[in-house]
Amino acid sequence: MTAGNSAQGSDTHEVTLVEAVNLALRRALTDDPEVVILGEDVGTNGGVFRATLGLREQFGYKRVIDTPLAEALIAGISVGMASQGMRPVAEIQFMGFINSAVEQMLCHAGRLRNRTRGRLSCPMVLRAPFGGGIHAPEHHSESTEAMFAHMPGLRVVIPSSPTRAYGLLLSAIRDPDPVVFLEPKRIYRLVRQQVVDDGQGLPLDTCFTLRQGKDLTMVSWGAMIHETLLAAKELARQGVEAEVIDVATISPLDMVTILRSVEKTGRCVVIQEAPRSFGVGSEISARIGEEALLYLRSPVQRVTGYDTPMPYPKNENLYMPSTADIIEAARATLENA
C-alpha cells in the first residue's frame, strides 16, 4: 500500500486488490470487536498471499487465529462462532482446498437460520483466492463458484477490482448471512486503485455496470473482467460499443441489470473461466433465453473454460479464455442480424 496504513478515519490508499482485502479486514477488525480472522497461515505469515498481512501484529492472537490444517473444521467452527454472534472471517488458502468445507457450508452455514426459523443465524464469511493463470501447482487454480451458487442460503460474492474488493468484503462481513467471498488471485496485484478507507460497503446482490454500450452486453465476474474490458476496448476501437457488466454477487443473481442491458443491446456474451458445462454462465444464459427471448437478436454466446481439469501450469494457457476469444464471440453475436 502506498498511502498511510491507518484504518482509522478515511485515508485514501493506492492499493492492489489483495491490499484492498487487507484494508477491509483491518477496518472490520477495528470497527467490530466480534470480527475474527481465522485460517491456515493467516497469523504470523499474513496469509500465503499476504491478505492478512500485519493483522496479527495489530489485533493480536485472539482476533487473528492460525488454525490447524483442516478445512472442514475451519468452516465448522465458523458456523459455531457465528451462531453465538461472532463474525468469523475464515480463509481457505486456495479454492482447490475448499471441498472438505462443502458439507458445512451446504448443510449448516446456509441452513442454520432457516432450520431454526430465525433463532440462530450464521454471519460468517468464507474467503478463498480462486481461479487460474498464475502457473500454480494442481488444485491451486480452481473456479468452482457454481457449486456454491447452487446452495440455498449462501451468498457468493466476487470482486474484480480493488475498490470493489474493499467495499464488497466489508458488506460481506456485515451481512447477517453467510457469504462465500472469492478473490480472483490472478488480478490480486494487477492494478492499483485509489481506495478510500472510509468503511463504506458496496451493495451486495447487485451487478456493477462497468462500461455502457448499446451494441452488445458482456457479462462476467472476477479475473475475467480484465479480459472482458480489454475486449470491450478493442471492440470500441472497431466501432462496437459493448456494455460490460460485472456480476459481482453470483448468488443471488441480479438478473434485472443483466436483462435490462440485453433488452437494450439484443446481444450477449457471458464470460466465465470455470469449466463450461453447468457453470454460472449457464444460469445467466438460460435466464436471458427465458426472459428476454424476444429481445435477442442473436444467440447468447458463452466464452468459458473447457470441461477438463485445469492443466498443469505448462499448458494452463491452453485452458484459459482469452481476450481474443471474447472478441470472437462478440463478433459472432454481431454477425447474426
Binding site: V36, K62, T67, P68, A70, A72, L73, A75, G76, I77, S78, V79, G80, M81, A82, S83, Q84, G85, M86, P88, E103, Q104, C107, H108, R113, N114, R115, T116, R117, G118, R119, L120, S121, P152, G153, R155, P176, D177, D205, P252, L253, D254, V256
Partner: protein, 369 residues
Amino acid sequence: MFDNLDQAPGKLGYIDARGKPVRELPDEIDVAWLQASYRHMVRIRQLDKKAVALQRTGQMHTYPSCLGQEAIGTGIGLAMQDDDVLVPYYRDQATQTIRGVTMQQILQVWGGDERGNLFTGVAAKDFPNSVPIGTQMSHAAGIATAMKSRGIKQAVVANCGDGATSRGDVYEALNLVGVWQLPMVAVINNNQWAISVPRSLQTGTRTLAEKALAVGIEGLQVDGNDVVAVYQAVSQALARARSGKGGTLIEAVSYRLSDHTTADDATRYRDASEVSQAWEYDPVKRLQIFLHELGHWTPTQEQTLLAEVKQQVDAAVTAYLGEVPQAADDFMAYVFAEMTPTLLAQRDQLLAKLERDSVAQGGGSDDSR
C-alpha cells in the same frame, strides 16, 4: 453384546444393573436429586413411546427413539448450567427437555415442522440436532472458541453416537479442543450400534474413550445407563472446562434398546437375545429399584408420576396435533435475513400455484400432489 467386559454398563458407575449401589454416592447426590432424575427419565420414556406410537399411526414422520438412553440425556441435562450451550444429536431428547425445549417442540421437529427448533430461555443458544452425523462437533468447538475468546466461564456439551467417531470431522473438532484447550465436553453415546453396524466394525480400539489420547484431552468411560455416573462425569468435566483446564471426551456405554428409527427394523441384524439381555441394564428400572430399596419410591409415587407424565405427554401431543400450520411461504422467509428478489419472485409463483391448485380442487390445498 458389549464389546468387552469392562464396557458393560454398571461397571463404571454408582448404581449397577440390578439397582444395587456400586460405590458411595457423591455428596451432591441426595434423594431429591435422584427422584428428580427418575421423573425426567420416566417422562422422556413416555414421550418417546408416544412419539413412536404417533409414527405408527401416521401422525409423525421418521422418529429416532431414545429408549435405553435416558440416563445419558438426563445426566447431561442435570449437569449443565443454564449458560452452558448444548450441541445435541438426535437422541438427546432428555437433555433437551431438561434445558427447556418443550415436548411439543420435540414432536414438532420429528413431525416435520421447523418451528420445533424455536427454543427459548436457557436453550435459546443451543443448537438443534444435526442430521449429518458428526458435523455438529465442530460447531461445538466453534462455540467453545467464542466462549474462550470472550473470556466467559461457560462450556459446551456436544454429543454424538459411537458410529460418529469414525467421521473425520469429529476427530478434527476434538483435536482442536486439545490444541486450543477449549471448554468443551464431548459425550459419545456408545449404544453399540450405528444402524446395523456394530461398534466393533467402526474402530479397532478397545474403547472409544481412548480416542482422547490422540487429541490430548481427558478421556473416560462411564456407565451410560447410570444417571449418577453420567452426571458426575459430565459435571466434573464441565467444571474443568469452565475453569480453563480444557476439554474431556466421555464415552457413555449404553445400548440402543429400540430400532435405529421408526424406519428401521433391528431384528434384521441383531439377535432378540442380545436385546433382551440389554434390557437387564435398563437405566430407568435400575433407578426405580435403587430408590425403592432406599425407601424413597413407592408404588403410589410411581402411579402418581405415571399419571402426571401421561397428562403432560398428552397435553404435548394435543398441542402438537392441533398446532396452526406454518404459513405456506415460511420455508422461503428464513433462508436469508431478508427475502431476496429471487425468493420474492419465487414466493409469488408459489402463492399463485397454491391459488391455482386450490381453485382446481375446489378450495383447500392438502398434502397430496
